[in-house]
Amino acid sequence: MTNLLVLKEYLKGIYGKYEIYITPVEKFLLSLITLILINRKLGYMSRLNSMTIVLVAALLSSFLPMNFMVLLAALFILLHLYAFSLECAIVVLALFLVMFLMYFRFSSKDTVMVLLTPICCHLNIPFVMPLAAGLTGTPASAVSVGCGVIVYGVLEYISDSVSTLNSMDAESAMQKYRYVVDGLMNNKTVLVMVFAFAITVLVVYLIRRLSINHAWTIAIAVGALMSIAALLVGDLMLETNISILPNIIGAAISVAIVKFLQFFIFNVDYSRTEHVQFEDDEYYYYVKAVPKIAVAKPSKTVKKITSQKKDVTPPPRAVSSAVRKSDKSGLK
């Protein structure tokens, strides 16, 4: 445990020192993973599948605000869908617009959850997001995670229905359109997932704010159980045939991941190194404020061992025992 705490302090130090480089790299990797996954899942527009375009887009998002990455991902999805079928593109565009106008317009910090939730769902660890959102966010994060699940559900539905949509005539645009809207409105699995995730976010948020020992750990455990219970209830009510066993395994893995994140990320104040500039009447100040590290790292000491000389004094143990003996004799 001590080693882990020391490692955490090291990480904190490294992040504080190199934050200016680490953040763009993180953004670049997240953007790259997102775009590659979109291309793999949809990939109907061959031009966008080119690695050069993906890399350029990821590089752009590495130094632009986080919301640009979300915009870019939405654009990639829409272009792929447009290349596949105009009807799909229209429905998904309407969905994105409604999400933006209703929620993300005034909660722009949460947009990254819409990006991360489908990624976690794709990796079969969907519960990471509601647990993480409950630990770090507000009850409103339930809406963000819900939007992420809806996006994932729609994309999954479209990619699963490619053959059906292709078999429809090009002239029956209305039929295609109805098929996609039906998939969006009557997708019971997505409905159950949204319900389960929203409950999980709220439960985790409420428990982690309690003033009890190990509130965060209890919140994670109860949240995971709650999500499975909510999935079961939703499954029974709506008869969605969600396979529970993979979800239990996914929840267990999610708990482990969130516990790891809690230790290394959520509970650590990665106070950034600040570079600020200001001036007064006399000076221009260019200040670099480096956060102090709370726990001292173990310092390495180099012990020099030299070869013993012949006329050495007796070893300390012998000396002390000799002294003790003389003391005892003195007492007598």
Binding site: A94, V98, F106, M174, Y177, F278, Y285
Partner: protein
């Protein structure tokens, strides 16, 4: 002479101005009523657009039925129902946004109050130096 205490205070203030202070200052420039009414205006526009999009999606979905029954339906009654749905939707959404923006305004003002007290402290430090 460089005053260490003053530089620490100025650094903290500059850091605040660069991060959360940026948004708070933008909010703090408005009177409460001005800020909330501007946000509500934006909210009503958003709600109207959303309503139009959803209506468009549903309307297009039932396009054939709509075209068949357009002459048999009481258009005035349908319009009234649509208007009622719009008012309920926009009203409830605007009310939620009103609560959110009121809370945000109060939070920003509280945060700015702290910033202004730091500013006062800073000016006192300069006064001390001049003496």
């Amino acid at each position: 002479m460089l005053n260490e205490e003053r530089i620490i205070l100025m650094t903290k203030m500059a850091s605040y101005e660069e991060h959360e202070g940026k948004q708070n200052m933008a909010i703090g420039n408005y009177f409460r009523s001005d800020y909330i009414s501007l946000q509500i205006m934006k909210t009503v526009i958003s709600a109207t657009l959303t309503f139009a999009i959803v209506l468009g999606i549903i309307g297009f979905y039932h396009f054939e039925t709509v075209m068949k029954e357009i002459y048999q339906v009481d258009l005035l009654e349908a319009g009234r129902r649509l208007l009622l749905a719009y008012v309920i939707f926009t009203g409830s959404y605007t009310f939620i946004c009103y609560l959110v923006y009121s809370y945000r305004y109060n939070r920003a003002k509280k945060s700015l109050k702290k910033y202004y007290s730091h500013l006062q402290e800073l000016s006192e430090l300069y006064e001390e130096d001049r003496r």
